[in-house]
Amino acid sequence: MIDVQNLNKKYGNTTALDDVSFNVGKGQTFGLLGPNGAGKTTAIKLLCGLIRPDSGIVSLNGKTDPTLIEVRRSLGVVPQSLAIYEELSAEENLHFWGRIYGIRGRKLREKTADCLKIAGLLKRRKEKVSKYSGGMKRRLNMVCSFLHEPSILLLDEPTVGVDPQSRNLIFDTIEAMKKEGRTIIYTTHYMEEAQRLCDKIAILDHGKILDIDNVENLITRHGGPSHIEAELEEKISDVEKIKMFVDDKDIQLEERIIRFKTSQPMESLAKLNRSGLRFHSIKVQTANLEDVFLNLTGRRLRD
């Protein structure tokens, strides 16, 4: 569906993308996760043909020229900046974008109503967009890209500056699009979003992809061990007994509380349980994408 090979892009002396390659299958949600300036927006612009790469190939639905009209019709792009007319109402905006894609008459009215419903703007559809809150504008900005039912959606940080309610609405919408079988590329610097929405994630930093895989594998590879804190029902005196079942040599025992790190938390806990230990409570802090990024780059995502 989407195939990107050895993409390079420089702005003057600054490397925006450095030999980037990835592919996204039909119906998959692919995340580009990286801090600001990592090259996410450049990647989106190259994918939709707004800028040309210095080298490399972008293939969308088998076509290597994203500027072809038939390719563009299959694309829905949600740019990072608001791409709506604030002087018009939500309904007028949707009508305009629909007409640009050749949608007319009853179909346009139906699609407009659907989009307004998805964005939660049905009641305020006649109001000028300039009177909307930031979250409402973001929601409208997003649904304007769905109107023509594109098979590929490119979302460039759609939740920037959005309130929690609008963020959840945007997530629900993206998940609904995913269920409909659309292929989605989603850029973000929020690891929670990537973790929630994406089937596959590319960790991007300084224009380079550091690794690509699903969340679980990325964490397994780069996230480091999970931290476990378990409270036992009875006090034990010999810590060596526990060490037999846990591969952490630095295991700590304080009264009835044991703390250890493991890359296989469930298996370790099961082994301890089988050895006769009874747990009063267990806290498992697994690694996340933030840890993945930290371990890969030595920096935090939002540094």
Binding site: C48, G49, L50, I51, I69, R72, R73, L75, V77, P79, Q80, S81, L82, A83, I84, Y85, E87, L88, E92, F96, W97, R99, I100, Y101, G102, K128, N141, C144, S145
Partner: protein, 422 residues
């Protein structure tokens, strides 16, 4: 084509949704045309006489009659003021001159014709010599007209003769023979004024002094018939300039926001977007032209010499500024920078091209310099159709220049826009 239409409609809606835009493209040009049109035509009252102030320090019957003669003159617009007020008005150039009628003016012939102590004083700016000379002629004429009333007054004349008789009798340096000659003449006048009937007195002693007959001949149409014919081409240009600047800024605004990108990644090419902007600008300017034309005809009674040529001139002017709009839109990456640069260029073009002060009133060197401004050619073409009585061949020159400038600016703008990576 549909896409261009939808883009144009959207742009017009966006433009019209902003009251500020409406003011600049529609209201301001009309206000401009009306305001300056009224100023150039002296508040629309038509031709008026020379404004003077009269100070009556004499307060006699003669001075009253004299003032009424001045007031009845079409060539003068008289206001009665005190000496201080009158001189202040002259100083501030609000009036051409102040005429001060001194005390004693109505004391008779002696006072009126006393060259040693003039009873009428003219206070005027020395740089306005021509008006001053003209005024002296008008004052003399009024003076004789006032006097002719006294000549038909039997008693006043007999009083004057009695006064002169007394002066001759008292004159010691006059020899007796000469004195008798005057006294005989005065006796004859006395007899005449005693015996002549009223009808003959009026016929014989009344009449205009140095009277003229006037034939009104309208000049050939080598200039505008009304001041609005000067200000409306300017106003129309301001409408087009406002429109061009607004649309140029709207292109920058779309580029700075995300809408330009969204349009580019849709099934619309750059050409569609620019054509849509151009079409919107063209339609809006045409609409403004219609409003201005109707306003000019209905409310200002502005005659238009040749309507088809006027439409041709207007369309060429719009096309020229649509091209310039495209170029202006590439001058900055933000609304502020493009807006600032755009308005600066427009103001210079307008100043040079007669958008502020009519070319008609400009010095020759500035008129030559104005050739570099498309505003000049726009106004020239419009004036050609409105009052200069241009033929098709004559109007073709400014029209072709406008089209050439517009085309060159359009190409340059599109090239520059395509070079700027969005």
């Amino acid at each position: 084509m549909n896409k261009v239409f939808f883009l144009a409609v959207k742009d017009i809606r966006v433009l019209m949704s902003d009251r500020g835009n409406i003011f600049w493209v529609l209201v301001f040009p009309l206000v401009f045309a009306f305001f300056f049109g009224a100023i150039y035509s002296d508040a629309g009252e038509g031709p008026t006489g020379m404004k003077i102030a009269v100070v009556d320090e004499d307060k006699s019957d003669f001075s009253t009659s004299y003032i009424s003669k001045l007031e009845s003159s079409d060539a003068l617009k008289v206001s009665l003021l005190s000496r201080e007020e009158a001189i202040e008005q002259v100083r501030k150039s609000r009036i051409a001159a102040a005429v001060i009628i001194k005390k004693g003016m109505g004391d008779g012939f002696e006072a009126i014709f006393n060259s040693e102590e003039p009873k009428i004083e003219i206070a005027a700016d020395p740089s306005r010599k021509m008006e001053s000379g003209y005024l002296q002629g008008l004052l003399a004429k009024a003076q004789f007209e006032a006097l002719s009333g006294n000549f038909t007054d039997r008693n006043w004349m007999k009083d004057q003769i009695s006064q002169w008789r007394g002066e001759i009798e008292d004159a010691n340096d006059l020899d007796t023979r000469q004195a008798n000659l005057f006294l005989d003449l005065f006796d004859s006048f006395d007899t005449l004024f005693d015996d002549i009937n009223d009808q003959n007195l009026k016929m014989g002693f009344n009449g205009d002094i140095l009277n003229f007959s006037q034939t009104n001949i309208s000049r050939e149409s080598d200039g505008p018939l009304t001041s609005f014919q000067i200000t409306f081409p300017q106003a129309m240009l301001w409408g087009i300039l406002g429109c061009a600047a607004t649309f140029a800024i709207s292109i920058v605004k779309e580029r700075a926001g995300g809408t330009f990108q969204r349009l580019l990644v849709g099934p619309t090419g750059r050409a569609h977007i620019l054509a849509g902007k151009g079409a919107a600008c063209f339609i809006t300017c045409s609409f403004i032209m219609c409003i201005q034309y109707i306003g000019a005809k209905l409310f200002f009674k502005m005659p238009v010499g040749d309507l088809p040529l006027f439409v041709l001139a207007y369309l060429c002017t719009i096309l020229c500024f649509v091209g310039i709009m495209m170029l202006i839109s590439t001058l900055g990456r933000t609304e502020q920078s493009a807006g600032g640069a755009g308005w600066a260029i427009i103001m210079i073009m307008a100043m040079l091209g007669g958008g502020m002060m009519p070319l008609y009133f400009m010095p020759a060197w500035l008129r030559s310099l104005s050739n570099i401004s498309p505003v000049k050619w726009g106004i020239y073409a419009l004036e050609g159709a409105i009052w200069r009585n241009f033929s098709l061949m004559e109007i073709a020159i400014p029209c072709l220049i406008l089209l050439a400038i517009g085309f060159a600016a359009f190409l340059l703008g599109v090239y520059s826009l395509s070079k700027q990576q969005d």
